[in-house]
Amino acid sequence: MTTRDQETVPAAGAADGGATGELDAALGERVLSRRGWLADAYTGLLGLGLASLVGRELAAGDADTAGHWQPGRGQTHFAPRAQRVLQIFCPGAASHIDLWEHKPALEKYHGQPLPGAEQLVSFQGKNGNLMQSPWPFVPCGQSGKMISSLLPQMAQHVDDIAFIHSMMSKTNTHGPGCVFMNTGHVTEGFPSAGAWTSYALGSANDNLPTYVALPDVRGEPPNGKANWSNGFLAAQHQAIVMNAQQPIRNLPRPADIASEEDEATRTLLAQLNDHHAAQRPGEDLLRARIESYALAARMQLSAPEVTDLTREPAAVHQRYGTEDPNRLKAAYARNCLLARRLLERGVRYVNLYCASRASGVDGLLNWDAHKTLKPDYERHCPVFDQPTATLLADLKERGLLADTLVLWTTEFGRMPTHQEGTTGRDHNPDGFTCWMMGAGVRGGVSYGATDEFGRRAELDPVTVWDFYATVLHVLGFDHQRLTYYHNGLDRRLTDVQGHVLHAVLTYS
């Protein structure tokens, strides 16, 4: 798949594309909000099977008659590099200085006070002295990028990754931090990046959700469903939640209803609805709802096929680690495999979580190593390493990496000091690492840096808004023009901030 080079670029259809012009319109087109029902010039065309007409026209490259960009129609502001996004999220604040950003000074000054911050009080309280990472960093790839030896398989990918080492968060609390990292706002109620993408582009397939969240087998991330919320965007833009352990809710026909009965019931329903709509010509919402039942039926056929991992060869399972004796790793590996199957079938945005919420014991269910960094990360890294590395390799081998933007994110970093009386690290919102890969992202580079100890972003600080300005840019959008009115403001994923990080892209 290559990126098309047109001014207004219809996003490519699903991998099986081609004869699905009618279906390209898909969910986004058919799914009407009351808002869209108002004075929308397209309303007359939507719903009634004529949605396909809109879809075809736009696929031919038009915006609207005035040349304005329209949301949800596969149009972008300019030529995109990415057709889809995979966002891997390690909740709990995965430590930048123990995974991705090497700090020799921590080894050199281990046990000494952090200069200028001897009385540092952070989220859980007082901090002790500097603490070196319990594991050595090792040079990897052609670039020689140093990452933790805890991630031996991820090492193979560093030459394709642009590390951003100078991320900053507004909050030092997990829940708001995760929500901030996903929505650009610390408070709940705002749309996640996936929801914005769904709103901006609409669907690229006719029978699967546009945006999917795959929570970890250990549970939901901090702040749970707010991380994949549609916020104030219409309900169809929220993520559909599933994972390899848990199918889409209400998808299958109930066990006690025979397929003949189901069929006959739907047939009658269609007759009743047709009769009702025929008496009310012109009511697009009625047609839209009829169409939504047809879409639901198609989804019932397609979704089980996607989630059926038994269709994958044994060697693939082996490689991902889906049968690993470590049950957590096996479960995450299945979600990685599922993520690949979703992406290759045209799901636009996949949120893949590795770990979950804050439990009764810090650092047990997620990367929140407050007290016992070493045992905690020796639990989490083996879960993360092989399945993630395999997923990335698999995307690359299948050619999907060319137009799939991969993001690795966490909500903030950790302190270079140990927490007083412990061998763990407290929350550090002032510096942390995220990375990007694929779809025109420069590989083997590190952008920005924290100070010599890893305490604060120092070189080229990057905000969450900069990060998403870049994501939207790769998707073909000017983040300042992708807006939605809500309670007094034209809202944006990037709030009133954000600069595209051109330095991490191979193109301008």
């Binding site: 869209g36 329209q70 909050t171 709940e188 707010a226 009743l272 012109g282 939504s292 412990t422 939605y484």
Partner: protein, 1010 residues
């Protein structure tokens, strides 16, 4: 005609509308939504339209010329930089600073435009930098300078004047309520104005708008449609088949009015309109943010809202109670419960130790109250002035922080809400018991002290027996004579963090070693061993604290003891002689409670899990802490009698506690925890509590200063006075916003769309009123009716506009697709709650309800943070109206969420009505639909059986016919057509009546209201 030139907005006139003094244009937003903007920026419109050509004639009154022509240019195009910001050193707000000029020199030479830099820059189009002034505009400035550059004595206030870029104090919604007379309209022979539309004031306003837009009203709806519409509108429930028949057959002239009266008197009215209000005030029953813990005592507010609406409590009173119920009616639960409004929004309760973050969290909590109050009652997005002055509305940061100072004493939490006599009665019952408790505790402490003192005297003897080092978290070993065992158990008698506790300790590994030449750890899961012990359950991740973690061969994760015993089942009987156990083998946890360890213990073995033999004990170890030492002395030095006496005292204390617990506590509700406000307060520059700016006090908003009596409280004003002052100001008879916003909300819920289509935003970014005069008329009616809603409902519903048909008309839709001019009644989809309530109603399962604690359609899990898992089956305890659902934040509840019930993170002044495939899946396949279909089918069968003679029952077709008929009448309030009847009967015959019910529950006709 005014068209905003903002690049994101493209002005578009509605075809067929006449200007008529208003400048109408459609405002196409970048998100694809549309806002009809009627240019009611009165001041601006008048000025620009009136003056567009003629004004170039020099005005001989410089003051008038300045007011009408110059001011708007300066404010709109110059003051953003050359006002308070003094860019280039230039301040054009008043004459003396303007005359001083800026860094480049003299800006203004009165009478000499050619010597004035301002004119030079403007005419050379160097200024303003974003877009040059029009030729007209620069000419105005030139004339103004020529005439002497008149300035009024008071400096220009950039936010006082509305411009094409922002609203000022003269913004339409901030002006006093007009007292408009309904226009005189005469019926026209062509039916454009039917005679029936010339009487009711509302109809006269509406039909005038229709005529101007080239539209005409629709004919009246049929009675079946009308009764269904009105019933859903006022109660959120469908009418029964009998109610429809009764109304359709009621020939009395006032039948419709009687219908409205009956519906307004129904207790279901308050449930339905209460739900609307709860949307507006962002009522939610969990705290949101990371922990999102459910709040179980917020429901009294929901019941209070429902009750208040049913009683038709004046809304100004309701609003005042929302802000200051505890101040207005202390000791009166019915008033005090209102303040739940302030604290029913989301807030962060995570307990941050970082002082900077803690201050930010507190500021966020108050921000929620400021925004909720501004949006719900004033339709002003005051929250936008948190970091800087509002970009679009005349709200300053000072305004924002004066409200911050108003709410600064309000904290999220509960209060005892009880009348004084209830408090007294309870105190009288508890006082003697509390005294008794104190006496008993004193006796116990004295006795313990005496025993310990005796123990201390002989301490050396006891200590001599404590020969071994204390139990150690990093590893405690016990060796013993070889013994054959199948079961090995650890029994805890004390934990190192609490000598009296027997649970709550952790074990990261428990090893059992065989007595062999080469000992083996036989307590390993992968070797076939099993560990048994209770642990706190994290339901969404059951193994989180499991005892299996003690035999997994790894030290990372720990079992948390919820039972004193940990039992290891060996794979086979084995001779053993050693155990090793720890809570923190790697020493990572240090002294933290997270690594709590058992320190007083026994090790026992058994061949059969019944007969236990003690093989080791920690009793001869040194105590880990002084408290443990004391506990041991207490146990050792007491006499038999003393121990009995201690046990007796303990038992009596426990009994007293039980008696106390039996006395019902005072009602404790989630209505806010009011504390002194503190202060002084400051503007936070950039919104950061770390950057205090000017000091502020609680005071009224500047924007309405001209019309509503202003107040400014002393810096040390009492907390209660702050909220009372704001409550009084919001509901002051001269405050135009509150009644306007409220009247618009009522209209919005009746017609699906407000006269202003952004019901919580009457500012610049919000919509403009389609019918401004009607809005003011409605607001006046509301005030006249002493802020009671029921008369307003009735007035609106008696209009022809409300009673007209919803029939679609392509020609009219071509002009006004959304029927904002009301050429038809806008049809709507039922809201999520209405759909669920309708299912329950049809099935006959809807429970009569008096409120009380809500029901849940989720399983609530809490392990530090909360998780909400939607239920696959909804039991009969959930067969209540959806308004009684305990709505938590950031949850997904199948039918409710799918059909756009909002997450209550923000207020939801209007609901979406989306159409998605997920809705279809949920309505087709969730157990709730199937249960409802079955219950409804059973009810239909019973009804038909009762009505049908017994000889017909055996014949399926004979029964199916009446069942189908009855089902259609109940669901659609009509009989099936012949084709429908045949198809439905065929389905019933082949697959049973529940199949038909399932189809009908999914039908469009059920979920849309004409």
């Amino acid at each position: 005609m005014l068209v905003r030139d903002d690049a994101q907005r493209h002005g578009r006139r509605i075809p067929g509308t006449a200007g008529g003094g208003w400048a109408e244009f459609l405002d196409t937003r970048s998100d694809g939504t549309k806002h009809m903007n009627l240019g009611v920026r009165i001041g601006l419109a008048a000025v620009t339209l009136a003056g567009s050509t003629a004004a170039l004639a020099a005005d001989d009154d410089p003051a008038r010329f300045f007011e009408q022509r110059v001011k708007v240019i300066l404010v709109e195009r110059c003051l953003a930089c050359h006002g308070a910001d003094r860019k280039g050193g230039l301040d054009l707000r008043q004459k003396d600073t303007a005359l001083q000029g800026g860094d480049s020199g003299t800006a203004l030479e009165p009478g000499q435009p050619d010597a004035s830099l301002l004119i030079e820059y403007v005419e050379s189009q160097e200024m303003p930098p974003d877009q040059p002034l029009s030729a007209d505009e620069s000419l105005v400035l030139r004339q103004w300078v020529e005439q002497g550059a008149y300035y009024p004595p008071v400096p220009l206030n950039p936010i006082a004047v509305s411009t094409s870029r922002r609203a000022g104090y003269d913004w339409w919604s901030l002006r006093p309520l007009a007292d408009p007379a309904p226009p005189d309209v005469a019926s026209t022979p062509d039916g454009g104005v039917p005679a029936a539309w010339t009487e009711h004031p509302i109809d006269r306003f509406v039909v005038a708008g229709l005529t101007a837009a080239g539209l005409r009203p629709s004919p009246p709806a049929d009675r079946r449609t009308l009764v269904r519409r009105a019933t859903y509108d006022l109660t959120g429930l469908p009418p029964t088949a009998d109610e429809v028949d009764q109304f359709v057959g009621d020939a009395r002239p006032d039948a419709y009015e009687r219908l409205i009266d009956r519906l307004l008197a129904s207790p279901h009215y308050g449930e339905h309109w209460g739900r609307h209000w709860l949307d507006v005030v962002r009522f939610g029953e969990s705290n949101g943010y990371e922990r999102n813990v459910v709040i179980d005592n917020a429901w009294p507010f929901r019941d209070y809202v429902i009750r208040s609406l049913n009683q038709d409590k004046p809304l100004d009173q309701l609003i005042r109670e929302h802000l200051a119920g505890d101040v207005l009616g202390p000791g009166d639960p019915e008033a005090e419960v209102g303040t739940a409004f302030l604290v029913c929004g989301p807030y962060d309760d995570v307990g941050n130790q970082d002082a900077v973050q803690a201050a930010q969290i507190r500021a966020d909590a108050i921000d929620d109250m400021v925004r909720a109050t501004g949006e719900a009652f004033l339709g002003l997005t005051i929250g936008c002035a948190r970091c800087h002055d509002h970009k679009f509305d005349p709200v300053t940061q000072r305004d924002y922080y004066s409200w911050y100072a108003t709410f600064a004493g309000v904290h999220h939490g509960s209060r005892d809400v009880a009348r004084p006599d209830e408090r007294r009665a309870r105190d009288e019952r508890t006082a003697p018991l509390l005294a008794r408790k104190a006496t008993l505790a004193g006796q116990r402490d004295a006795l313990e002290q005496a025993i310990v003192a005796r123990g201390e005297a002989q301490a050396a003897a006891w200590e001599a027996r404590w020969t071994r080092p204390p139990a150690a978290r990093r590893g405690t070993e016990e060796t013993f004579a070889p013994v054959a065992a199948r079961y090995v158990r650890l029994v805890a008698d004390g934990v190192d963090t609490n000598p009296a506790a027997r649970t709550g300790y952790r074990i990261d590994e428990f090893e059992v070693w065989s007595a062999e030449d080469v000992p083996r750890n036989v307590a390993l899961a992968h070797g076939g061993a099993e560990a048994i012990g209770r642990n706190p359950v994290a339901e969404d991740f059951a193994d989180a604290y499991s005892p299996s973690l003690t035999i997994d061969g790894e030290f990372g994760a720990t079992w948390i003891a919820a039972s004193p015993e940990l039992t290891i089942v060996l794979p086979e009987p084995t001779t053993i002689n050693r155990v090793v156990f720890s809570s923190d083998r790697q020493g990572a946890g240090g002294a933290l409670a997270e690594a709590a360890f058992v320190c007083e213990y026994r090790i026992e073995v058994s061949p059969d899990n019944r007969q236990w033999t003690e093989v080791a004990t920690g009793a001869d170890r040194q105590p880990v802490h002084a408290a443990h030492r004391r506990q041991r002395l207490l146990a050792a030095a007491g006499t038999q009698e003393e121990r009995q006496e201690l046990a007796r005292l303990q038992a009596e204390l426990a009994a007293t506690d039980r008696t106390l617990a039996e006395i019902p506590p005072l009602p404790r509700w989630w209505v806010g925890d009011m504390r002194p406000a503190g202060g002084p307060f400051h503007v936070f520059l950039g919104g950061s509590p770390q950057r205090p700016g000017d000091s502020v006090v609680a005071q009224s908003l500047g924007a309405l200063g001209e019309y509503v009596p202003a107040y400014t409280l002393a810096p040390d004003a009492a907390e209660a006075d702050r909220r009372r002052a704001l409550a009084d100001w919001l509901t002051h008879p001269d405050n135009p916003l509150t009644p306007r916003v409220l009247a618009n909300r009522v209209w919005h819920y009746h017609f699906g769309r407000g006269i202003v289509d952004t019901p919580s935003d009457f500012g610049f970014m919000g919509g403009r009123p389609t019918h401004p005069a009607l809005l003011d008329w409605l607001a006046r009616q509301l005030q006249t009716a002493r802020w009671q809603l029921k008369p307003l409902h009735k007035q609106i519903m008696l209009s022809q506009a409300y009673q007209q048909s919803s029939r679609y008309d392509p020609a009219a839709a071509g002009i006004d697709a959304d029927s904002r001019w009301l050429w038809r009644f806008p049809p709507r989809r039922l809201a999520a709650e209405e759909i669920r309530d309708t299912f329950l109603s049809l099935s006959g399962k809807l429970a009569p309800d008096n409120g009380g604690p809500g029901f849940r359609l989720y399983r609530y899990l809490q392990d530090n943070v909360a998780t909400y898992v939607p239920l696959d089956t909804h039991g009969p305890d959930t067969y209540r109206r959806a308004v009684y659902h305990q709505n938590a934040r950031a949850t997904r509840i199948d039918l409710l969420t799918d059909f756009d019930a909002p997450d209550c993170a923000f207020a939801a002044p209007r609901r979406d009505a989306t159409t998605t495939p997920l809705q279809a899946l949920t309505l087709l396949n969730h157990r709730f639909t199937l249960d409802m279909a079955q219950a409804w089918a059973a009810r239909l069968e019973q009804d038909v059986a009762r009505a049908t003679p017994s000889h017909g029952r055996d014949n399926g077709a004979d029964v199916a016919g009446p069942q189908v008929e009855r089902a259609f009448r109940q669901a659609f309030h009509r009989l099936p057509s012949a084709a429908e009847r045949a198809a439905a009967a065929a389905l019933v015959t082949q697959h049973g009546l529940p199949a038909l019910c399932r189809a009908l529950l999914n039908s469009n006709e059920l979920v849309f209201v004409d």
